[in-house]
Subunit: 343 residues, 4 copies
């Protein structure tokens, strides 16, 4: 039944997110990788880039040339730096190829916020208008059949999923949201630098980009969208000495006294049908190890009653639910496949 | 000049904190370890417990028997579980031996809070009244010459030092303090259990004891003491896959609009003369690797102006400034030695 | 088609190897876990033992009682300490249930070597005679249809696969084999102890049980079997600060001058058809990260020509190819399923 | 007494080895760092390069200019890439500054082996003749008063110290030495690359440069020197997911049957007076954690009697005894200071 599989290309095939996409797509019953492109001097085997893929039935990695993708390319995943992917998107769409962009280029409804945040000019503001923010749990209906999906950032995924039920219910005092997030080192990408050097990252823990990380406006735009009111947050990311995983501890003041039980029930109900959100039973707490290499987001809620403050903890694998897994989930939703296929 | 050194005993000599004490005391010019006691079946060499101390000029570890410490024992460090040390303290004090207790037994001014928090009965409420909370940066004058010093907990050290200048200046809106703390695994102590198993701790990050950790009342009591008003906080500890280090990210609402520069100046001035508090220059951020194996507390402050919220980041080594180093600092202050000796 | 799946029980369901079995069996198209038994006080959800399995469609863990396994139990995996499993095996076999034992109980052809090595008495010497050593690459034909398979140890798997082609060709000088093996911490099992405490294992590397590890006789027996002559080796295991993976660096003197190319060709041919052995192309080297969470054994060979010495490097995941993955592979072979099913 | 301290310069002050030198020299009673030079665009504070040194009483890092070192510069440590330091050495020596070179430039008695091994031309073959190999335990007498000391490589230190007693006693069959060494990631230096990226190094273990590492000829030259006969070895280095530490497991065939006790006694006696070599009591095994941040080399010997093979395990901190600590030890010996000063 190989002829029925959807042909998939990955542009930017040397990124960590690309390795993760390949891990998932190789076990996907309805997709087949037909092209891999990246900045390479000469074609190279995938196994030379990702040792764990040595011998896998995959095409070689070719130089980037979106005009010469195989005929049977139906969808493309873009694992490219900001602004680079946005230049290729129009070419792909013109050829009828659906685009799942893992960069930030199409994540903002208002492209000027993107331009301010990333200090660049948007290569395709027009295209930006029709892009869909690919968080299926919240915007599933919009993704079905769509051909341009902007896959959310890793931190935003963990924080937006963690706050969505409260936002929709308007239960939080505006201006009180704090997200204290902790990420594994793979979030910093594959390019070696001082931060990702083993000897600097290991046995170390630090905050970075306090209240100035590029994911903050993305989070704010989506919280605003969910609540219908302008929402802001204080966002502080930290680097954890581990390869993968994001855990966000989110604090917010409640408008009214609400019991922990009631909020727990609200969350359980909100995510009841979701295959990839696991609201934990009371007493259990999320852990990044529990979600590693899965597309699951674990969530727990607690109420500090004397302070009338809710504490939400959410955990994802930054490379899966925070990137490649969610991209495949969007791909599945867009194409009308089983949403959990390959995941 | 060995005869001039202060004779020191360690009770509970197999704890991680004891190993750290020994590391420090071996290079302390004014102290000499004259006795080591712990729950052992037979006397054993220190090197069998702490491989890095093999061959060091130290007495063997004997069974616990505080009535038979060497004549020249002048001070004792207690590295014992809660309530155990408090039973030995009176015996030691009667013999004129100064006590530096690393447990929580004497940390609370109000011993009933201790009893509620630790779910035990205090073995020596009377003694508790004269115990000094051993945070030299804030209570130095009280420690000089004292014979019963309660060394602060690791999380409290990082959080109280992080908030002290704001508490003293009454700049924070009550009820808005949140401390999101992250600790290395050595904070969980030496007894092996599921949590500290390498395969559970490694490549994992999780919160625990959300708003219910035993250090919370200790922090609150001291913040209250510093500000003169009843203070509370929401405290969430997390476990980091590293051996040592605590980083606390502390959030609080400011009573008035104050610039980051002014708060930074306040902190710089407040800790100006402190040998072990390093308020970082603007732009730099604390990291646990920078303070590992030192008695230093690194601090940085940031202001999220639109939210009128201050963010303080503090980093310590939980086994040093959060335990054994601070104990030696208190020992130095108590005995009138150079406060930095051995550290 | 659930009714066509083979019903599987796991006895000792709290072991690390059991968690790994479940990870594999959950995606196995031809197997269904119908019973989980372990030493538990009361039935408990799998998710309480293995957080990553929370919500998975699995039966609860019951106390051990092999007499009351479900009717549809066709095969059982034993993840039990030595001698414990061997007591249950006869009961299971009597009921027609095939046994895949992950302990050492049935690994030795000569049960007296087992008894000497493990310092116990064998509970079922008679049964031992019909047990098959479950290394499919070498003894596949024997495993087909068998009902008592002893799954090899983790170190033996890496070393025997690494040496098999040379043994079969009789190319090695007797008495010259040295296996210097390095294992992740999960090899030490789930019971917390000093060795597996994060603070002892992390940032540490050490040898242990030099030339006295219990896997040495198992390796020697199988090398002997392969070569037809009594073989011995010097075996030194080491502990690596990582969760999973074994890398063995094996040295042996060659009987004759043979080029690296020739030996590489020999290995490539020997394992040509094997789905789970990956003889790397020249220039590439095995790495435990490449085989983590897979059933693959990576092998490379080098010749130190001046010394007439061959160096073989092999890498496996100790919990997969070194335990649970190989057990499922044997299960597949025994039952005539696709050998790679679930793997 | 600051005026009596020996003025020290470090050239190449941004290397990991330089950070380690500074850590040691700051507590050295007889040395004072008077100049730091490195490739910098503008002078920078040490704290910007090594966070743990923030606030330390050290000069700023200036650009490299050995002609303008302070008047009171008496000794210089070169932490520079191969061939770079050798160009500066003559200039320093002309000015009467003693040179302790941490690169490989002057390690070889025969500079042509150096040239072959490093594929470069030696910048100062003449100077090479008077350089001393700085392994004090074996060549102490030669180092006293010397002004050009080549500090040994990290692997060679661990292996040569491990074999020296056997070499001197001529107890080993030629051609049978195998050194299987394992190193932490800091051995790969500070420049970020794929190998040292946290996500590649973590949870991974691999061999590299099998029988082709540049330290092999250095080891062979020194074993030959010790034994008086041409010695070779098979050397296989591996990378361990930890920051620091080298453990070498060394195998060799014994010429005669000798008991483990006798060899242990030989080693104990050989290193009896050495402050930095710790031959462990029987039963104990070296571990890199035991020697981390110390100048100690731990050694244990075992005999595999049936194979007439000796197994030596040695452990050092690659940055201390394998580099900066040993350099300071040589500095102490050269200047007639207490050999353990600062260490």
């Amino acid at each position: 039944m190989a002829e029925q599989k959807i042909g998939v290309a990955i542009i930017g095939a040397r990124a960590f997110t690309s390795g993760e996409l390949l891990r998932i797509l190789l076990r996907h019953p309805g997709a087949e990788v037909v092209a891999l492109q990246a900045r390479v001097d000469a074609p190279m085997e995938v196994g030379e880039v990702f040792g764990f893929l040595r011998g896998a039935p995959l095409p070689a990695i070719q130089g980037v040339d979106v005009d010469h993708l195989p005929e049977n390319t139906v969808s493309a995943f873009l694992c490219l730096p900001h602004t680079v992917g946005a230049k290729f998107a129009p070419l792909l769409l013109e050829r009828g190829i659906r685009v799942f962009d893992l960069s930030a280029d199409f994540r903002f409804r208002d492209h000027r916020i993107y331009e301010n945040t990333y200090a660049v000019q948007h290569p395709s503001p027009d295209l930006n208008r029709r892009a869909i923010y690919g968080l299926p749990e919240l915007f599933r209906a919009n993704i079905i059949g769509q051909d341009l999906v902007a896959c959310p950032g890793c931190y935003p995924t963990s924080i937006i999923l963690g706050l969505a039920p409260l936002m929709k219910q308007d239960m939080v005092v505006k201006g009180t949201i704090i997200a204290d997030s902790k990420s594994g080192v793979s979030g910093a990408g594959r390019t070696p630098n001082e931060t990702t050097h083993y000897c600097n990252a290991n046995e170390n823990f630090a905050a970075y980009k306090i209240a100035s990380h590029r994911h903050q406006p993305e989070i704010e735009e989506n919280l605003t969208r969910l609540s219908g009111e302008r929402q802001t947050l204080t966002f502080v990311p930290h680097l954890v000495p581990m390869e993968r995983g994001i855990l966000s501890t989110i604090y917010a003041s409640l408008k009214e006294d609400i019991t922990e039980d009631r909020i727990h029930a609200l969350y359980s109900q909100f995510y009841d049908k979701e295959p990839f959100v696991r609201v934990l039973p009371k007493g259990a707490l999320p852990a990044t190890a529990n979600v590693a290499r899965t597309n699951v987001c674990e969530i727990q809620v607690r109420v500090d009653a004397p302070a009338r403050r809710v504490i939400i903890v959410s955990a994802i694998d930054n490379l899966v639910k925070g990137a490649s897994g969610q991209a495949v989930q969007c791909f599945n939703v867009s194409h009308g496949l089983d949403e959990t296929a390959g995941l």
